[in-house]
């Protein structure tokens, strides 16, 4: 990268077609937040439709059965591929990895830029699919054949083809991004930064990228076959022609399960960075957390068929996959215990990032234990495809995608934008979100145990579901959902307030050790004047014998003093 430009790059090169990882991170961030609003509005439509038993939804209109399927499909698709992955992986990873390892930029800056624009194209295609004849895809985010292959079943024509194209482009973008992240973390570390001196966020981004890279291939193959079935009329998944729809399910979930860890790990990475800073204590069990992450990554490839226990798979597969699924809870539990131990006897201060981090841990724990019910084939036979599943995955996915994301956003916002956010507004954002989130999804466990199936457009059609308790649960969930959406208003106000009246952030408002806090806020193009030299690990807080309760990684050791 050139140190001096002959002239300042124009607006287009600096903010639109930039190869700077920090700008690309912001592009992913804003696109992801925008899609989060779209996905959230779709959730609003679902919840109001269900609570009012099919009354027209204010601002949207009446929702017919096929339209309901479409709304549910697009809500899930958007939240996973166009919100969770961009904001947790692409935005945080792009912004933090080079800064945290002391690099000037990613290993392949132009590839990085290309990845964003391919992602942008995928976003446009997906949004366009709402407006084509027949509407958007309606086969579930899982897109199983034969439903997703045949217009006579799913009711739409263009929707699925555009959906497949959008998802394929999104995969391509994240593969490019992933290769960039992995190569950068391996090769561009500053002198003195051994692998075990890297902040856990970098380990998590690296692991998530590797997991994504190895798991998405079979699904890309399967999706190509699905597209051919749809567009050309082949019979890859047609039993009448020798194909097998269960093949698609296997190919999908071989990716789909590791994918949830791709989303979870960066969320845990944010927690791992924030807890030590706001407890002024080293992370407990750094190496243990790294090994647990790697074990989780490996195990995540061996559990996928727990999504298919009732799909007609060979019954002998039930036991091995139940065993591996229960097993995978162990390394995750190890990480959660390590995080809790980090807090023990720490000097905890409850600023907004810490609130979100602690909230994440509490909520995720609940979600995780309900995974046991679903991972055991026997209980899953009853609970599969009920609202229990919906509650479980929201209790496990919203902690990383919402709680960890906001923790990370409030924590790194000063570095990204050079200003502070308002603490009072932060509390006004956090507490209602936490309360209304639980109000939305706790009732769904009750619904699930009662046998209420998911993806039903008109539950009132079924006599058993007209039970007043169940109706009340649906109503409570809707109140919670609307509350959750309203609770985001303080966040938007905060963004405006900060742009207007936020205090300058300074270099290191949180007194943290990692390398990004040694740069100006926001960091300039090229991040560091020369390669920083790293002398110690990232979590040296409250080290005995030091006057300060923190010890930056790049601070040279004093002569004659212990390292």
């Amino acid at each position: 990268m050139a140190n001096a430009h002959a002239h300042e790059p124009g607006l287009l090169r600096r903010y639109v077609f930039s190869t700077d990882h920090k700008t690309i991170a912001k592009q992913y961030l804003f696109t992801g937040i925008f899609m989060g609003i779209v996905g959230g509005l779709l959730a609003y439509v679902i919840r109001v439709h269900l609570a009012t038993n099919g009354q027209p939804v204010p601002g949207f209109g009446a929702v017919g059965p096929q339209q309901y399927n479409s709304v549910v499909t697009m809500h899930g698709t958007i939240m996973i591929f166009w919100v969770a992955m961009p904001i947790l992986l692409a935005a945080l990873g792009n912004f933090l990895i080079p800064l945290m390892i002391g690099a000037r930029d990613m290993a392949f800056p132009r590839l990085n830029m290309l990845s964003y624009w391919i992602f942008f194209l995928s976003t446009v295609i997906l949004l366009v699919s709402f407006f084509v004849p027949g509407g958007a895809a309606a086969g579930g985010w899982t897109s199983y054949p034969p439903l997703a292959v045949s217009p006579q079943y799913s009711g739409e024509t263009w929707g699925v083809a555009l959906w497949l194209l959008a998802v394929a482009l999104e995969f391509a973008a994240f593969l490019m991004g992933g290769i960039n992240f992995i190569t950068t973390a391996i090769n561009l570390r500053a002198p003195g930064m051994r692998l075990f001196d890297m902040p856990l966020m970098v380990w998590m981004q690296l692991s998530a990228s590797v997991i994504f890279l190895f798991s998405v291939g079979p699904l890309i193959a399967g999706a190509i076959l699905l597209l051919l079935d749809r567009v050309v009329g082949t019979g890859f998944y047609d039993p009448a022609r020798g194909g097998d729809p269960v093949l698609f399910q296997h190919l999908f979930w071989f990716f789909g399960h590791p994918e949830v860890y791709v989303i979870l790990l960066p969320g845990l990475g944010a927690i791992a960075e924030i807890l030590p800073v706001f407890a002024r204590k080293p992370i407990f069990g750094y190496r243990m957390i790294v090994y647990a992450t790697l074990i989780t990554g490996v195990l995540s490839f061996l559990v996928w068929a727990h999504h298919q226990f009732v799909a007609g798979i060979d019954p002998r597969l039930a036991t091995p996959f139940s065993v591996t699924t229960i097993l995978i809870s162990v390394p995750i539990a190890v990480m959660l215990f390590a995080f809790i131990a980090t807090l023990y006897q720490g000097s905890i201060s409850l600023e907004t990032p810490m609130l979100w981090a602690l909230g994440m841990l509490v909520v995720f724990l609940l979600g995780g234990v309900t995974g046991i019910h679903l991972g055991s084939a026997a209980s899953d036979i009853y609970l599969h495809d009920t609202y229990f599943v919906v509650a479980h995955f929201h209790y496990t996915l919203i902690p990383p995608v919402v709680f960890s994301f906001f923790a990370a956003f409030y924590y790194w916002y000063p570095k990204m934008f050079g200003r502070r956010l308002n603490e009072v507004l932060g509390h006004l954002h956090f507490w209602p979100t936490l309360v209304f989130f639980n109000l939305t999804f706790l009732p769904m466990f009750v619904l699930g145990f009662a046998g209420h199936h998911r993806r039903i457009a008109n539950p009132q059609f079924f006599e058993a579901l007209r039970d007043p308790t169940l109706v009340r649960m649906q109503w409570l969930a809707t109140v919670g959902a609307v509350g959750m959406l309203v609770a985001q208003i303080p966040f938007l106000v905060n963004l405006v307030w900060s742009a207007w009246r936020g205090a300058p952030a300074g270099e290191n408002p949180w007194r943290a050790n990692t390398l990004e806090w040694t740069t100006p806020s926001p960091p300039p193009h090229g991040n560091f004047a020369g390669p920083p030299v790293v002398y110690r690990g990232p979590y040296e807080y409250s080290v005995p014998g030091r006057s300060e309760d923190w010890w930056p990684q790049t601070l040279a050791p004093e002569r004659g003093a212990g390292a």
Binding site: V210, F214, A240, D244, L247, L302
Partner: protein, 102 residues
């Protein structure tokens, strides 16, 4: 290329010799393909394919001269495919007969 300067001269394989082995292996497989010993021929043909792939990967792609972690990258991909295959055999290969299957 800086990496070439780092490699010891003796590690430079004879590319044309490797090509000769590859072509011979190809001819053997072709010949076996026309024979009428199905099982034995198939086993040999696929073994030969693996050998050919190994020659290209190890010598033309220089994987033999790369540090272990690069080999691990390839090995991990193959391991994933292995687990995918194992997991799918009961359902896809030995599925109970479905209506209308040829």
């Amino acid at each position: 290329m800086t990496s070439e300067a780092d490699r010891p001269a003796a590690s430079h394989p004879n590319y044309v010799l490797i090509w000769g082995i590859l072509v011979s292996a190809l001819l053997v497989s072709l010949f076996l393909g026309y024979m009428d010993l199905p099982v034995v021929a198939m086993v040999l043909i696929f073994t030969i394919a693996i050998v050919k792939a190994w020659l290209v990967i190890a010598y033309y792609m220089h994987l033999k001269y790369e540090p272990f972690f690069v080999v691990a990258i390839v090995a991990t991909g193959l391991a994933c495919l292995y687990f995918l295959f194992i997991g799918l055999v009961p359902d896809i290969v030995f599925a109970p007969s479905k209506g209308g299957a040829p």
